[in-house]
Symmetry: C2
Subunit: 148 residues, 2 copies
């Protein structure tokens, strides 16, 4: 586990949010990477409020395009992402979130969402399910729990 | 250096491209990660042709939204990305490219485009320029060489 997150001030948060280039839908893409192993866990979207909440609380909050609301990662599944460091790129239109992922990032019960690889000339599943999705979301919701 | 890339067949490439969920603009976001160190280098976009060319040639080709054409990474700067493995996520709407980056990924001359971090309550530049952009693009073009 990494050190406890120190909440950013509202002024500092506003400066970060104002530095970012949100797209026409008011969103910015975010890559989540496990801070110590380097594993790329997932890609999702954030709006201004999601970036601000993430920096305030130290728990990663995305914008769910399918549910059209803030998506506090792990709020149902318990598989939270603690923010270690937020970075952005040279165009200010993509975020890299270095996080500490509790359990699994993917709603399928795999550590990373990027589990399909083109390998040996065909598509292969390259990661095992380590947590049964039913234990994350309950029997009925498990098939609908993904978000993007 | 990794092993030489083995070109995929046209049938196999078509299957991969057909598996992906391109957005309303016909694009899919791609995260490029250095295959052996895990460093996230950049985030850019690909269209169907860019994905197909990348799998065919083993050299990463993006779609430049600003120039509105295929963007063969390194074609001007020499800073090519060789494809090691293409992966995609559980929604099939984001790519993870594991690559071998020659030199630097960023047009600013830094290894990674994600060089601005929110650290200690303020924005900090956390990567050094290791290659002078003028040597990558020539004097006049250096300021306009970024793409996204």
């Amino acid at each position: 586990m990494a050190d406890e997150y120190r909440a950013a001030s509202d002024d500092a948060i506003a400066k970060v949010v104002d530095s970012l280039a949100f797209n026409g839908d008011g969103l910015i893409g975010a890559v989540a990477q496990q801070f110590d192993t380097g594993e790329v866990l997932m890609f999702a979207w954030m709006d201004r409020a999601a970036v601000a909440e993430t920096l305030k609380t130290g728990r990663v909050c995305y914008w769910s395009r399918s549910r059209r609301k803030l998506w506090r990662k792990g709020e149902r599944s318990g598989q939270e992402q603690r923010l270690i460091e937020l970075r952005f790129d040279c165009d200010s239109d993509a975020l890299l979130l270095q996080v500490d992922q509790k359990g699994v990032a993917c709603h399928t019960g795999r550590r990373s969402c990027f589990f399909t690889a083109f390998r040996n000339g065909k598509l292969e599943t390259v990661a095992e399910i380590t947590v049964d999705p039913k234990t994350l979301y309950g029997e009925e919701e498990a098939t609908q729990a993904g978000s993007s």
